[in-house]
Every structure is written in C-alpha cells, then in structure tokens.
Amino acid sequence: MTETPDPAPAARRPTTLKRALGHIISCKDASRLVSKGEEGPLSPWQRLVLRLHLSVCAACSRFERQMAFLRTAMQRYRQ
C-alpha cells in the first residue's frame, strides 16, 4: 500500500502575512495578556492580538497550556 504524503505541514506553515500579524505583540506582551486573562475578560483588541500571536508562536502556546496546568494544580491544592 502506498502512503500519500501528508500535506498538512506545508499547509500549516504560517503565511508571511499571518506571521506579521502574529508579531503585532511580542512574546513578553503575550505572556502578560495570558496572565491578565485569568483575572477577567481581556478587551476585544487584546483578545485578537493574543489569538493571532498564539496561532504562530509555539513557545507562547506552550506557556498558555502551562498556565492552565498551574490553575488546575492550584485547584487540586485546595482539595
């Protein structure tokens, strides 16, 4: 059986435009917004630039998952 090549990696590679939009904010700013989002809703602009950034930045996506883990861990701490 022949395997069809997986077209996904190429399709997922962000376009130049997407990359540019993703870098409206830096990782430093993105990490601050992730934390701030735990305290209350972000403004629509903050939500947008954060989403754009997370869509092209693996490190910040990882950071966001780790913050979610931290929240779960603190919930467990309470039980």
Partner: protein
C-alpha cells in the same frame, strides 16, 4: 453531620489550613491563631451542610479570618511595613530578564510532556509545589494565595491590601512566572 464526627474530621485538615495561613501571613504565631479561630468557629457553627467538601467549607472560614488578620495588622502603625515595601519586592525578581531585548523568550518555556496532569496525583509533586510557593517573595505569595486558593476577587484583594489593579496584575504575573520556572526546573526538567 454530628458535632462529634466533625471534630474527629477536623484534625487532619489542620495541617493544610496552617500551611495556607503561613504562606499568606508569613507569621507563625498569627497563622496558628487564625487556624485555631477557624477550627473553633467550625466546631461552634452549624454551617457545614455536607454539600461542599469539609476542606472547602473550612477554607471559606479561614479566608475571612485571614482577611481580618491582615486588616488588623495594617491598622497597627508599627507593622505598617507589612505591605509597604511591595514596590521593592517587585524589583527583586525582574522577570523581564526571561525575555530578550525584542521581547522574545530567553530561554523558551520547556516541554512538560503530553500529560503533565499526571503529576498532580503524585505526593512528591505536591511537595515541590509547596517548595515553589514558599520560595516566592512574601507579598507575592500572599497575593497569589488570596487569588488562587482563597479565590478572592481581584477588587477584594486590591481593597484589602490597598494596592491598585495594575500592581495586582504585575504581582500575579510574576507569581505565575516564578512558579512556572520553579516547577519546570524542579520537576518537569528532572523527569524528562
């Protein structure tokens, strides 16, 4: 639940309450006092309905006792410094150092594995967590515990500690950055 059952169940909760109180008050004697008051209130009250867990109920009582203790402390002029040097504390750990001049991660957050949640069932992980919380600067730990364990709303914390919302965000951000780094260095990197 009968009173006798409650008093029997309270003792194992004592060490947890004490740990939480210590982290927030950073004052051994005062922490003992608030836990004592919490347990007395629990024994005399009829508030426990069994709807929430015993720990959740006790934590709810402890929350009020800690807030009272902080309020009282702030009224004493001699210990006004209890929260006065928050700005100094914020300078100590400058997490901007975790980023390069262009605002990129330096170093990048590490890989925590496919299911870091499994760590939560391990006693050793919870010990590392305690260690990381204890390593936080006192005021940072206090604010973080008020938010994440006592579940106080941000405006309540600002009111109790007379800090503004912006200070609060910075403190919580730094607490999370410090805890993330500490857990990564002392648990996740070690278990690769």
């Amino acid at each position: 639940m009968a009173a006798a059952d409650i008093s029997r169940d309270l003792e194992p909760q004592r060490s947890y309450l004490l740990r939480v109180a210590r982290l927030q008050l950073r004052d051994e004697a005062l922490a003992e006092d608030v836990v004592q008051e919490t347990l007395l209130a629990a024994l005399s009250g009829t508030g426990f309905s069994g709807k929430s867990s015993l720990r959740t109920w006790l934590t709810g009582i402890l929350k009020h006792k800690i807030v009272d203790a902080i309020r009282k402390k702030q009224r004493e002029p001699t210990v006004a410094s209890s929260f006065g040097d928050i700005d100094a504390e914020m300078d100590i750990e400058d997490f901007d150092a975790l980023f390069n001049e262009r605002g990129g991660w330096e170093p990048k957050p590490g890989e925590w594995g496919a299911s870091p949640e499994e760590a939560l069932n391990q006693r050793e992980f919870l010990a590392v967590m305690d260690l990381c919380l204890e390593k936080l600067p006192p005021n940072t730990a206090r604010v973080f515990m008020m938010r994440e364990v006592m579940e106080l709303e941000t405006d309540e914390i600002c009111k109790e500690l007379t800090i503004n919302a912006n200070n609060l965000w910075v403190i919580l951000y730094r607490a999370r950055m410090a805890l993330r780094l500490c857990l990564e260095q002392n648990w996740f990197a070690r278990n690769d």
